[in-house]
């Protein structure tokens, strides 16, 4: 990650760092922590707020609270020794300026062959090239010439782009070195990006699509049949959808810059956008050990109750491939039994960020809204939750005068008792400096540490 939290968050951290702290711990503290703790004071009752998670949602919520309530003390607790969540681990390395984020688990297709060698979740693939410790051993097999990415969101385009970008360009980013070595040996030349619905239902956004059409050495191959009749519809669409659809039509017609290669070398890679295809089976190789293809059913679209649905037509086709990346959505996991969780939707039930039926508990980010949207949505969401917290403090809805718990002190008691070593924000700065130094010697913004052990060594030595 080349850039950390936004300017405002960095300001805020520096300004308020000695009034609040960030604690990062190498193992999670599995205990019921009161989210709002109380401090006895005869003058002013100071609200203590504990934020679990140090990704963008946590930061935006913290920012809102610190800004709106001058006495509030905020502690952020993070399970890894490094902060910023998927701003560090989820953003594509060639997009240092973009913010993105996720949830901890992913959805599965639920079809035969899903556990064959050569099938991975896009989430783990992203974790692998971004240095998330739990994904460092993924070792994705890049020896086949064709890859299929299932999904039509920005993550699907991210992984396709990393597979197709010339390695010398990636070499200058903070992508992990082991990913660079693997991508150098990669034989992947064609990437299909497959989705079950049509062009008007794609979830990716125009910036990411435009980038795909401008990939050096890579052709964009769309089927004009997929766009028949759409040109007439385009003027009626809201602007974002309109421009996105126009770009796809233009690409299909072969009019974009990369396709009119003026004096450029002919592209040696290609990506193909496929619509109306749902995976029904992953086809194994003859020896049954790895993926050899994917069987897709052909869909048609039907509108019902304001939603456009994909329904099978009975027609099928097979794409031969040796690599499948599943990019069909993320899922949040419950944090603790004491916190209500809607397992079906993967969210914590809440109203304006206030957790249902659990006073003093709040949520923001994807665990609140579900795993969709861009940083703007998470920011707004974080602000809204922060406002709810401050409102409840000021209205007296939350009792902060009681003598019962002492916030940070009690948390530190637990940490001490369990023999854990908290990693502080200053420790993170040591890790940060070392990563940058390591990167400098090989021309990268940073070379990330891949294990918690290495991070701790960097922090404490």
């Amino acid at each position: 990650m080349a850039s950390t939290a936004c300017a405002r968050c960095r300001n805020l951290l520096t300004r308020r760092l000695f009034k609040s702290e960030m604690l990062m711990m190498p193992t999670a503290v599995h205990t019921k922590l009161p989210m709002i703790s109380r401090l006895l004071s005869t003058v002013t009752a100071i609200p203590h707020v504990c934020i679990v998670g140090s990704g963008p949602a946590g930061f935006y919520t913290a920012q809102q609270i610190l800004k709106s309530h001058k006495q509030a003390r905020v502690d952020m607790v993070e399970k890894l020794p490094v902060p910023f969540g998927l701003v560090r681990f989820g953003v594509a390395p060639d997009h240092p300026e973009v913010k993105s984020y996720g949830a901890e688990d992913d959805r599965v297709l639920g079809i035969g062959g899903e556990s064959l060698h050569g099938v991975y979740s896009a989430r783990s693939f992203v974790g692998w090239y971004n240095g998330l410790p739990e994904d460092r051993r993924l070792n994705p097999d890049l020896s086949s010439d064709t890859a299929v990415v299932i999904g039509h969101g920005n993550v699907a385009l991210d992984v396709a782009r990393i597979l197709l970008t010339p390695v010398d360009i990636l070499q200058k980013t903070d992508i992990t070195q082991h990913a660079i070595e693997a991508l150098k040996e990669s034989r992947v030349k064609t990437v299909y990006v497959v989705g079950r619905r049509g062009p008007l239902q794609v979830a990716f956004t125009i910036k990411e699509l435009r980038e795909m059409t401008k990939l050096p050495g890579c052709k964009s191959v769309f089927d004009t049949k997929d766009f028949e009749g759409l040109s007439e519809l385009v003027p009626t669409l809201p602007r974002p959808r309109k421009r996105l659809t126009e770009l796809m039509i233009k690409t299909a017609d072969g009019q974009t810059a990369s396709q009119q290669t003026q004096g450029q070398e002919s592209p040696n890679k290609e990506w193909r956008l496929k619509f109306l295809r749902s995976p029904i089976e992953i086809v194994p190789s003859e020896d049954g050990k790895r993926v050899a293809g994917i069987r897709l059913e052909v869909n048609e679209l039907k509108e019902s109750e304001g939603r456009v649905q994909a329904l099978p037509t009975g027609e099928e086709e097979i794409l031969q491939c040796g690599l499948i990346l599943r990019s069909i959505g993320y899922k949040s996991l419950p944090i603790d039994d004491s916190v209500p969780f809607d397992a079906k939707n993967g969210v914590i039930p809440n109203t304006a960020g206030r957790v249902s039926h659990l006073k003093g508990f709040y949520c923001s980010g994807w665990v609140r809204r579900g795993p969709t949207g861009v940083i703007l949505s998470t920011m707004t969401d974080g602000f809204e939750t922060g406002k709810s917290v401050v409102q409840d403090i000021e209205s007296g809805e939350l009792d902060i005068k009681s003598t019962v718990d002492k916030g940070r002190d009690k948390l530190l008691d637990i940490i001490e008792k369990k023999g854990l070593v908290p990693v502080t924000f200053d420790d993170w700065k040591r890790i940060d400096d070392l990563e940058k130094t390591r990167g400098e010697s090989i021309g990268k913004p940073r070379e990330k540490f891949l294990t918690v052990a290495e991070m701790l060594e960097a922090a404490f030595d």
């Binding site: 936004c6 405002r8 604690l23 809201p238 949207g373 707004t380 052990a453």
Partner: protein
Amino acid sequence: MASLSSYLRAAASRIALLRRPLGDVVGQNVRNPAVRKFNCSAAVLAKKETVTVNYILPDNEKVTVKAKEGQNLLDIVLDNDVDIDGYGACEGTLACSTCHLIFEQDVYDNLPEQPTDEELDMLDLAYGLTDTSRLGCQVCVTKEMDGLTVKVPESISDARTV
């Protein structure tokens, strides 16, 4: 980690550090001068003319600030500490839409530079997008724009309409 004892020492010292009573705030308002890409260059601002800019905030409060010719409307907000929640998250690198501003029609029509595809792509995602919207980080003030008034739109909780 060299040894168990150094690990335990690290634990003890950190816990002690974190328990200490919190002192005064340090490092007030340190803003990291991020490298700005994709913007018009801020030349020798010291010699440039002063331009007055009025920002109408979402709650309709009007904030008037002085800027230098050539500065972009995001930098002006940051330099003058205009209080807008979440403004300029990506620091002017065309990766978000949080510096979104709404101009008056005639001002919009006469802005020196048309938006690029990249700016339009980001504007697509902005809350409350209008026909006279631009990204603040992409618009540099000229002396002709002295007295400019721009509206900072309200953000609403669910604006994705794509």
